[in-house]
């Protein structure tokens, strides 16, 4: 049984979802030593999120962000506005999408489906440095 934990910092892009699968795999070099296990990703922020979605067409990322803007409109009567009109919608989107992911590992590889990629979704209007804790555990 092996446990490896590391933190990776990724620069997000304001109001956008970006694909970070390659950066996560690069940050977890011990992945290849795990025969059966789990990779757990945890984003240490409350106005961004982690999700898994389609890894091929950039329009999916753009459409996801547009749909989230429809689902959580800025115009709602929010009280928590001291950090700007985009802050509270970002908190809501973060809870809807979630800040942690668990991906099964088999024979040294993430068991993502063919079309699955890992997204970092920035819900604030400006980009930020976002920390992700990667915890890898399983049988070597």
């Amino acid at each position: 049984m092996e446990w490896k934990q590391s933190t990776v910092t990724i620069e997000s892009s304001g109001g956008k979802s970006i694909l970070i699968t390659d950066q996560i795999i690069a940050a977890c070099p011990d992945l290849r030593t795990i025969q059966v296990g789990i990779l757990h990703l945890f984003l240490r922020h409350t106005s961004a999120s982690l999700t898994i979605n389609e890894n091929a067409d950039a329009d999916v990322r753009r459409d996801l962000d547009m749909a989230l803007h429809h689902i959580v409109p800025d115009r709602l009567n929010f009280r928590h506005t001291m950090e700007g009109r985009d802050d509270m919608p970002a908190h809501v989107k973060s809870s809807l999408m979630g800040v942690s992911l668990q991906i099964p590992v088999s024979e040294g590889r993430l068991m993502l489906g063919t079309w699955q990629g890992i997204y970092l979704c920035e819900h604030r209007s400006l980009g930020h440095s976002r920390e992700i804790v990667c915890t890898l555990y399983g049988q070597t």
Copy 2:
């Protein structure tokens, strides 16, 4: 410490949520050997989801699907439409609901609440074969 991983394929029903608790338990015969542990389920797709909800009244499943249709309407101005008008709403719903579940295990049984069941939610208009990776780990 024991690790067991298997993949189960379930035929989904177009635009519907179905209860799969019994199928998941049947796919994990080693569950009964785990004294304390976790069952992790991971759906390898981007237009369906896994969730936990009420296991008794089929109207809950029907109402959940209806509400998701309200929350993510097909009429939004999506660009990613090459696979049909139902594809991009399905991707959004998949990220809102999520594709992985972790359920605690105690004395050989899932610690689901009395009213909790495992749902496979198909967000495309047609049914598909959906693969779920079941990773069971814990103390025997």
Copy 3:
């Protein structure tokens, strides 16, 4: 490798999100013995949820609940109404937000970000006793 499992019961507040970080830490005294690991929280209910969000301003909790009410309006044409008009919206919100959380542990502490707290969100109009299974595992 250590596994500890316990159940904590928390009284929720009708239609509100409350911060439960301190109660969860108090319910997991073995946390301090874990060098690298995971704390998994699982809510055994279908009309409430667990999420991570901003831990400082109570307006964030109030605004989150208001936004959820906008996203899942009571006026939708629900069939499952035998337990009241607030029941089915609560089921939908529970699936959108989720009932489980995984938080990485390092050197005896939860690796929450500076602004992250654990919320118990009650989606029914009245408060309830809500059971959370805490499963802690990792290297001592």
